[in-house]
C-alpha cells in the first residue's frame, strides 16, 4: 500500500513538473525584451487646452444645389437626349421656440430649365416649390414619460424595408419631383401629410396616433396629377380623412417590433408590422408587412380581382463587411399587384388598344408607390468613406422585375470636398426589352452632376 502511495506521489510530482514546464512555456518571462510602441501623433496640450473645433454654425440650414441632368429618352425606336439645368434651394430647419415648443420646416424650391431644346416648341422651364414639412410640437409630461403633440404638415414615414415599404401608409402621391430614384431618397424628399399627431414615450415603449383631415375636395387621390409652381399639393396628401396608429413596445436587444393600424376614408382598414432583428455581429434582418381587404389587379380588359385579404411584404438582410461596405438584399411581394400570368397578358397586349390602359396602370402604381407585379427583388450596396477616403460615399441599387428580368439600376457618388462644399454624380439605367416593365420605360438612362453648398 505504502509503495502504491509512493508511486502515486511520484506520478503527481511528475505531472506537476510537466505542468510547470508547460506553464513556463506558455507564460513569457517578465524580464523579456520590452515591447516597443510605434511613434504616435502628439497628445493634446495640457488639461483644458484642447483646441475647440472650428465653430460651424448653420444659421440657415440651407443647401444650394446646381445640377446638370441629361435624360436619354426612347420614342418610336429613336433615342433623344435632353439636357436640363436644375437650381435648388433645399431648406431643413428646426427652432426651439421655448423649452417645450419646437417649430420645424422642410422646403425645397427648384427651377428646372431645358438646355438646347432644339426645334420642337419652347424649352421646358418650370418652378417647383414643395413644402415638405411645416409643423409645431409641444411637449409635456416630464422627462420620464414625455408626451408630444404635433400639428402641421409632417412626413410620417414608416417601415423597416429598403426598396419597398408596404407599411408606409402616407406615401401615395407624396413624390412630386425627384433627382434620385433611390427609394430612400424618395422617402426623404416627399411631401408630408397635414395631421395632428400625438406620441407617448414610456420605459416600456411608445404609442403614436395621427389624424389627417380632408383638406382638399379634389379627388386626385386615385388619379395622376402633375404638380407645378407653388401649390401646397394638399390634394395629393389630404384628399381623404385618415387615422394612423403605431405601438412600439420596448423589446430585447436583438428584436424590435412595431404594430400598425391605418384607415382612410373609402378604403378598408389596413394593418401592418415592422420587425427588425440583429442576426449577428454584421447582419441585420428586417421584415415589413401590411395586410388589408383590397381588390387585385387583373389582365387587360378584365375587371379587377374581387376584394379579398391581400398581403404586402418586404424582407431583407443587410450585411456589413469589414471594409465598411454594406449590402442589402430584399425580396418583396404585393398580393394586389399583377400576377406573372396577368403581366404576361399585358405584355402581349401592349401594342393593341390596351396600350393606353397599360400606361395608365403604370402611372397609377407609380403614383401609389406600389409595385406593378407581385414579386420583386431589390439590392443595394453602399460604402461610406469609400477606399478609406473621408467624405467619399458610393452607393448603388438595382430594382428587378423577376417576371420579365427587367431592372432599374442606379449608381451615385458623393464627395464632400470641404465642410461646406460637396460634389456628386449619379447615373441610372432602365434595363430590359421594350416589352418589359423597366425596359419599356420612356427614359432609357439618366445622368446627373451636382454641386452643393451648405449655408
Amino acid at each position: 500500500m505504502a509503495a502504491e502511495f509512493a508511486r502515486l506521489g511520484q506520478c503527481l510530482v511528475l505531472v506537476a513538473m510537466m505542468l510547470a514546464a508547460a506553464s513556463a512555456e506558455a507564460i513569457p518571462s517578465g524580464t523579456a525584451a520590452v515591447q516597443q510602441a510605434p511613434l504616435l501623433p502628439p497628445e493634446a496640450p495640457a488639461d483644458g487646452d484642447i483646441a475647440e473645433p472650428e465653430a460651424l454654425s448653420l444659421p440657415l440650414g440651407l443647401q444650394a444645389q446646381l445640377l446638370w441632368q441629361q435624360f436619354e429618352q426612347r420614342s418610336g425606336g429613336e433615342e433623344r437626349r435632353f439636357d436640363y439645368l436644375r437650381s435648388v434651394l433645399d431648406w431643413r430647419r428646426e427652432w426651439m421656440l421655448s423649452a417645450t415648443t419646437r417649430l420645424a420646416v422642410s422646403n425645397r424650391y427648384e427651377h428646372i430649365a431645358e438646355l438646347d431644346a432644339g426645334s420642337e416648341g419652347p424649352p421646358f422651364d418650370r418652378n417647383n416649390n414643395m413644402l415638405r414639412e411645416l409643423w409645431i410640437s409641444w411637449t409635456t409630461g416630464g422627462a420620464a414619460r414625455p408626451i408630444y403633440l404635433d400639428v402641421g404638415r409632417i412626413n410620417q414615414r414608416g417601415g423597416t424595408a429598403s426598396g419597398y415599404n408596404p407599411a408606409d401608409f402616407f406615401k401615395p402621391g407624396s413624390v412630386v419631383s425627384a433627382t434620385s430614384l433611390d427609394p430612400g431618397a424618395l422617402r426623404s424628399n416627399r411631401l408630408g401629410t397635414a395631421m395632428v399627431r400625438g406620441l407617448l414615450i414610456t420605459e416600456h415603449g411608445s404609442l403614436a396616433i395621427a389624424i389627417a383631415p380632408k383638406l382638399s375636395s379634389s379627388p386626385s387621390i386615385d388619379g395622376v396629377r402633375d404638380s407645378s409652381g407653388f401649390s401646397l399639393d394638399l390634394d395629393r396628401t389630404n384628399a381623404r380623412e385618415a387615422i394612423w396608429l403605431r405601438l412600439a413596445p420596448q423589446t430585447g436587444e436583438r428584436i424590435s417590433i412595431d404594430l400598425l393600424g391605418f384607415a382612410r376614408s373609402g378604403e378598408k382598414p389596413q394593418f401592418g408590422a415592422n420587425l427588425s432583428a440583429l442576426l449577428g455581429n454584421s447582419l441585420v434582418g428586417n421584415v415589413e408587412w401590411s395586410g388589408a381587404r383590397r381588390p387585385g389587379l387583373a389582365g387587360p380588359g378584365e375587371p379587377e380581382l374581387p376584394t379579398a385579404w391581400r398581403n404586402r411584404v418586404a424582407a431583407n438582410l443587410t450585411w456589413t463587411f469589414a471594409s465598411g461596405v454594406e449590402v442589402t438584399l430584399e425580396r418583396s411581394y404585393a398580393g394586389d399587384a399583377l400576377s406573372r400570368e396577368h403581366w404576361r397578358a399585358w405584355r402581349a397586349a401592349a401594342d393593341s388598344h390596351h396600350g393606353i390602359e397599360l400606361v395608365t396602370l403604370f402611372e397609377r402604381r407609380s403614383w401609389l408607390q406600389e409595385p406593378l407585379v407581385r414579386d420583386g427583388w431589390f439590392a443595394r450596396g453602399s460604402w461610406r468613406d469609400a477606399w478609406g477616403r473621408r467624405g467619399l460615399d458610393v452607393s448603388s441599387f438595382v430594382l428587378v422585375n423577376p417576371y420579365d428580368s427587367s431592372a432599374l439600376w442606379q449608381l451615385s457618388m458623393t464627395n464632400a470636398i470641404s465642410e461646406r462644399w460637396s460634389v456628386s454624380g449619379l447615373l441610372g439605367r432602365y434595363l430590359g426589352g421594350h416589352d418589359t416593365e423597366f425596359g419599356g420605360a420612356r427614359t432609357g438612362s439618366y445622368l446627373s452632376l451636382n454641386i452643393t453648398r451648405h449655408l
Binding site: 506537476a16 507564460i27 473645433p53 423649452a99 422627462a143 422617402r187 432583428a277
Partner: protein, 259 residues
Amino acid sequence: MRNLFRSLIPMLLLVTGTALADPTPQQLLEAADAMRNPAGDFSINIDLTEYRAGKLVGNSSLTVYSKPAQDSGQFNSLVRFERPMRDAGKLLLRNGRDLWFYDPSSSSSIRISPQARLLGQASNGDVTSSNLAADYRAEWIATETIEDASRTPRECARLQLTAVRDTVAYPTVDYWIDVVTHQPVKAEFHTAEGRLLKTAYFRRFEQHLGSERPTETVIIDALDPTWITVMRASDYQQQNIPHSWFQRGYLARFGTDGS
C-alpha cells in the same frame, strides 16, 4: 497519504497558478473599466482625428450621453454627431447590442449592426461607453514590460479577454494593464481566427469626475499601421439622463426638451 496530498496541493497551485495573485484578472479588468468610464450617468465630448501616413485626413466631433443599463453591467449610450457638417444632428443609439441610427434628413431610425461603420476607423463600440468586464472573461497571460503611448516602459499584466457573448465586435482581446496603477495601457483586438484588427493605446490621463482617466485613445489599423485615429474625450459631466432618451421612439425628439 493525507500529508502527501497536503504537500502536493501547494506545489500544484504553485506551478499552475503562480500568476493568479490578488487582484484577479477579472478584477483588474473591472478596475481598468472603472478608470475609463465614470460611474452613473454622464456625458462627454469626443473628438476623432484621423491620420493617414502622418497626414491629417479627417475630423469628427461627437457628444456621448451614457447611462448604466439596469441588468447587464453595461452602458446605454446616445451619441450625437456634431461635426463634420454632413453628419451634424445624426444620432446613434446603443442599448447593449441594440444599435439604431437616426438621420434627421429622413427622420427615420434604422437598426444597424455593431460592425456598421459610421466614424471611419473607430467602431461604434469605441465611441460608446462599454465595460469590457461585462462582455469578456479575463485570463492572466503574463507580466510584461511594454512601452506605453509615450514610449515609456511600463510593467503590465497582460490579460487575454475572451468574449462571453457571441455578438461582441471582437471575439478576443489582448489587454495590458499597469500592475501598479491599474491604468489601461494597450489593447489588441482580434478576430475569432486570431487575426489582429487594430491596436489601441490609452494615454493622457487626467482627473475627471473623481478619478484619473485616459482622455485619449490612439487606434492603429492592423492592415495599414499608418492609418491612425486619435479619440480625445473632454468636458466630462455628471448629469441625470432620463430612460426615455434610450428609446428608439425618442430619437426624432432629441433636442426638444432642452437636451
